[in-house]
């Protein structure tokens, strides 16, 4: 029971790191980016290829996955995404679906369509027990890493100058621009960090979530659930939503495997019916 809770939390933390970039994109520029999962997949594949082909150690791969994906994110933001912000949502949806399809087939073409496996270092394998709670070492590792990231993110957002600029831009881009903030630059940076986090999440999650070319499509709905249920105005909203989703999904699949993902989807629809702005969103005039 508690093991299940533990696994759920690990899963939820992972989802949070994967989806937090999406929350910022959506909140800041009101851009529906269905291709967010493609960045996560990129991070996952960078790690897998580096480890399996070049023998780079796992811990070195993680930062590489972050920076590589962040660089790709920055490049794409500058070239392709920026003209999309002003377009209607339908265009954004079509555009990002197009990107997903391209990413999926490209990976399929380059690497192949089979499931990729990561060989974890020995000290992360296996599980130990405290009292009766079985704890997977790797799950614990995920929780620690994601927890640190969350604290760091929260600190950056609430304590630093960049954070206050970002929050100002989220609340009202036009006024923020009028006050002399370079909203475009802030957004470029944020997009890059968000993609990087997705990449890191993909690298961390390759072992837990599985990694194959259809990854962006499979998990797209999960990321979107985190964001739409959590709301885009705070960072705690998506975090709580991700934890809720992670626990609900793990528990649901364990107790009623017949229903599968059914519970998660139904829960999402009910929540969105009751709170269209998200479960934890402040009431905002936007």
């Amino acid at each position: 029971m508690l093991t299940l809770l533990f696994d759920g939390i690990a899963y939820g933390m992972l989802l949070f790191v994967l989806a937090v970039g999406l929350a910022v994109t959506l909140g800041l520029m009101n851009f529906i980016n269905l291709a967010h999962g493609a960045f996560a997949m990129a991070g996952g594949y960078v790690t897998v290829l580096l480890m399996n082909r070049l023998g780079v150690p796992f811990l070195v791969c993680l930062p590489i996955a972050f920076f590589a994906t962040a660089a790709v994110g920055a490049l794409l933001e500058r070239t392709l995404y920026r003209p999309m912000y002003a377009k209607p949502h339908l265009d954004q949806v079509l555009f990002s679906i197009g990107l997903v399809f391209m990413a999926v087939t490209t990976v399929d073409y380059v690497v192949g369509s089979m499931q990729q496996n990561i060989r974890l270092p020995g000290w992360l394998q296996g599980r130990f027990a405290i009292e009766w709670v079985g704890i997977g070492k790797y799950r614990l590792f995920i929780i620690v890493v994601c927890g640190l990231l969350t604290v760091a993110l929260q600190w950056v957002l609430s304590r630093t100058r960049f954070g206050s600029r970002l929050r100002a831009s989220v609340d009202d881009p036009r006024v923020a621009g009028g006050l002399g903030l370079d909203v475009n630059r802030i957004f470029l940076l944020t997009f890059a960090v968000g993609s990087g986090l997705a990449g890191l999440g993909g690298a961390l999650g390759a072992e837990v979530l599985g990694l194959d070319p259809t990854f962006p499509l499979k998990f797209m709905i999960y990321f979107l659930i985190v964001v739409s249920v959590g709301g885009t105005t705070t960072i705690t909203g998506p975090l709580l939503a991700a934890l809720l989703l992670g626990i609900a999904d793990v528990a649901g699949k364990y107790y009623v495997p017949k229903l599968g993902a059914f519970i998660v989807y139904s829960l999402m629809i009910v929540i969105l019916m009751l709170r269209p702005q998200g479960l934890f969103a402040r009431a905002s005039g936007k």
Partner: protein
């Protein structure tokens, strides 16, 4: 404008254009002159019908849906199960599929009334995913991942067998397509259709001049669901098969693309889009079957970057776009290389 003027201008809008009549004539003639292509053509007609139903809610009511396949699949499974367990007659099966899809549309339409575009995307996607999961897990009823096999249809009208070359199938699909298009045409030119466009363009204003926006959205969503169900039923009946694929996200995305290629908001976009899309599909698949999706994705990206409005208006291709158009526009939209 005074009242008679308004009435006259609305009536002018609803007038039959020569090209519309020509289109229907061409559709009818295609059955006689392209007998070898009936299978492909039937497929096109089904997809066109599906896109038509999406156009009603997207082009006329402005609702972005990522889960329209829910109704398509519901109709497909409904028709297949009906034929297998109740009665193999296609027309009665069609009526049954349309009825249950409409009921599903009415039931889920309350979900799209609130919230933002994102909420609607999520909810429509969620409904389609739930149905996908259901069809996957209820193996006794639907055959699960193997699909529902062994559907045998009775001859159409008790006389025309569904043949292997697809002649009957195409005629059947064509008739359903034309009938639904005519119904949809009648709907969008009615006062109800006009009010839909009003609420698409400015919902607040539509509300304040006294339109009952939720009731209208429920109505159009139900109608669109019914037509999508008809398209699904056509697919299941003409192929004698229903599989999980009908609920897949791919299908929802594909129909969106088809409609966008043909252009939204004038009813015939689905037909033109389906023709272009299927021909492209056949062409590219013959050349690189596995990676067709890549070109589809590239096409989408270029299409949006260039501006999808310009695709259906060739005379604007060589003009600078009115803002938002990228230098990429110089390549000319449309043909993915």
């Amino acid at each position: 404008m005074s009242r008679p003027d308004v009435a006259a201008s609305l009536r002018a809008d609803a007038r039959w254009r020569p090209w519309e009549i020509a289109l229907f004539v061409v559709l009818a003639l295609s059955w006689f002159f392209l007998p070898g292509q009936s299978l492909l053509l039937a497929e096109i007609a089904i997809v066109a019908l599906f896109a038509l139903s999406l156009d009603l809610i997207l082009g006329y009511a402005g609702i972005v849906s990522l889960g329209h396949a829910a109704f398509f699949g519901f109709g497909a499974y409904g028709a297949a199960l009906f034929a297998k367990h109740v009665m193999p007659d296609p027309l009665i099966g069609m009526a049954f599929a349309v009825a249950i899809s409409a009921a599903l549309g009415a039931a889920t339409s309350v979900l799209i009334l609130r919230g933002t575009d994102l909420t609607r995307l999520m909810v429509t996607l969620g409904v389609a995913s739930i149905l996908y999961e259901l069809a996957n897990k209820l193996e006794d009823l639907t055959g699960g991942a193997d699909g529902l096999q062994g559907v045998v249809m009775a001859p159409l009208l008790g006389r025309f067998e569904f043949d292997i070359a697809g002649r009957t199938a195409y005629a059947y699909a064509l008739v359903v397509l034309v009938v639904c298009t005519l119904i949809a045409r009648r709907i969008v030119h009615s006062p109800f259709g006009i009010s839909l466009q009003a609420l698409r363009d400015n919902r607040l204003r539509a509300t304040s001049i006294g339109l009952n926006v939720p009731a209208r959205l429920v109505a159009v969503y139900t109608i669109a669901a019914a037509i999508a169900g008809a398209a699904g039923a056509l697919l299941a009946q003409t192929t004698g098969f229903a599989s999980l694929d009908v609920f897949d996200f791919h299908r929802s995305a594909e129909v969106l693309l088809i409609l966008v290629i043909g252009g939204t908001g004038y009813l015939y976009g689905g037909i033109f889009g389906a023709i272009v899309f299927k021909l492209l599909h056949d062409l590219i698949s013959a050349w690189t079957p596995q990676y067709w999706n890549f070109w589809l994705g590239l096409f989408l990206v270029v299409l949006v970057l260039v501006g999808r409005e310009r695709l259906i208006r060739p005379h604007t291709w060589w003009r600078r776009g009115s803002g938002g158009a990228l230098p990429a526009a110089a390549e000319g939209p449309g043909v993915p290389r």
